[in-house]
Amino acid sequence: DSKPLTIETSMPYGSHNCEAPSRSVETTSEELFSFFQDMAKMRRMEIAADSLYKAKLIRGFCHLYDGQEAVAVGMEAAITKKDSIITAYRDHCTFIGRGGSLFELFSELMGRHTGCSKGKGGSMHFYRKEAGFYGGHGIVGAQIPLGCGLAFAQKYSKDENVAFTLYGDGAANQGQLFEALNIAALWDLPAILVCENNHYGMGTAEWRSAKSHSYYKRGDYAPGLKVDGMDALAVKQACKFAKEHALKNGPIILEMDTYRYHGHSMSDPGSTYRTRDEISGVRQERDPVERIRKLLLAHDIATEKELKDIEKEVRKEVDQAIAQAKESPMPEPSELFTNVYVKGLGTEAFGADRKEVRVKLP
């Protein structure tokens, strides 16, 4: 018993070279409910990852997405799994948004064979090709031409789909953005560039890294929208608009005004280059989960208790996935040599001393 609803975004869209979509977003009680569920799950998952990292069960880099969940969830609500998505290293929630399981996710984070990359990728390198998710990339900005390449392939293949490329405000200064956008525009590629502007690239505030921080105006000739990235409905509306636009007219830029609660990665306390007041201010006034909670309550779609129950359930789900992942095995040693090539040509591969491990690449 899903009922239709129309909800106004609390902030107007900014627009460049195009007419902004309406601020009235059509949704349903069901959709709002699922937004809450999904975002609660993502939020809980990232908090759990934080603990696992501190318990030394996750190693290396680990970039958490809490605060930015509305972007992942709103985007998915506007598109299908035949549309492509590619993002940077802050990829946990994108993976979940594309239908990945918590078990595969935590397995990967802990380097288990059951991980979505069989433990070989790690936190920054999640993929789910079957659902159109092309990773998980560690080099700032590199995913932008890659994403335009996905759009190229979709157009070449005459699939009527689009490619969403997510990147940060820091990445938005990379030259390869301009190079790829120019080509995408020349070739009318169905490429949607989504700048997740969380206002910091590591410890550098946007105004210190970019002369112009109107990220939706980058490349002047391409149209762009500035979107309240803390509002899943605003994101959905913008992504729907962008998809239609891109299929007809080529590339478009969406700047999502959002915020990361955690530090950049686990070694960054996240509080030396911004004030605690700033963080708690965003949490209080713009939190994407709370926004949906309020809507659910205001429209009598759920009670406080029901929502608390969901949060409890999500917590259990996360704990179970972690427990199961912890029990999962590490990759077999022989996995060291698999997947280097699709077609390994029968050459020998060696470990560190040419004696210890020696296999024929398949």
């Binding site: 560690g138 080099i139 031409p145 994403g147 390449g149 190229f152 392939a153 790829a180 080509i183 040419r354």
Partner: protein
Amino acid sequence: KEINVREALNSALDEEMSADPKVFLMGEEVGEYQGAYKISKGLLEKYGPERVLDTPITEAGFTGIGVGAAYYGLKPIVEFMTFNFSMQAIDHIINSAAKSNYMSAGQISVPIVFRGPNGAAAGVGAQHSHCYAAWYASCPGLKVLSPYSSEDARGLLKAAIRDPDPVVFLENELLYGESFPVSDEVLDSSFCIPIGKAKIEREGKDVTITAFSKMVGYALKAAETLEKEGISAEVINLRSIRPLDRATINSSVRKTGRLVTVEEGFPQHGVGAEICTSVVEDSFGYLDAPVERITGADVPMPYAANLERMAVPQVNSLLFFYC
């Protein structure tokens, strides 16, 4: 029958594009201009602008786009006007192409070919003469091929395009116009050379000379001269720098007891160093003399003709060790 290397490459592109609609060609001037070195002549006309794409001079951008298209399942051929410019895109070749299949545990394969002229040409100076064979071939996930003859060019390029992994294909501008005899088999559209196998261009018993690309011709010339001196040289055309055909190299050296490696690139960490080490590892007891390594001089490429000549191996350099 004879064809030159340019025709060999052009026909390989043509046939593979005709055989597989997923294959497309992109790069600077590959379309309307017919290729800076005319390798793609006629392809735009035949396959149209959807499959032969002129790009702006933005290597990082278009290479990344090519790699992304390969993620999706297309089979892009990315032409670098010369490999010197691949440095602007090298992050995509190494991090986006070579490593993806591994990082994704086999989910994201990258069937792409990066090709173009590599290494020294004539009179083009320090920034346009770099040989990238050793760099790319150091990187797991890539396959690196370098043809010498028209047969190589046809067979290896067709193999590269059909291969499901990223292949770096290093041509040589000065060979484009060179003609080589080819058999009917080579001209057949099914012709293909297995990746990873070297070719013994000339059998011999006294010394093994390894070379790739243009230097194979020099090695063959040197072998002729040596023959007159009563020395029988075996010339190995590497064809594939990665995987390197250690088996063929080692069994040759086990026979001859002597090894000379030849390349135009810089010496340090070069192909010769790897071949020498491979032989020391696998056939140490068979070596009757120190390995002789012939390489480009350890300097940026000078422009002046006399210096340039000294900066890359000449046929004589290959004979020096016998004088």
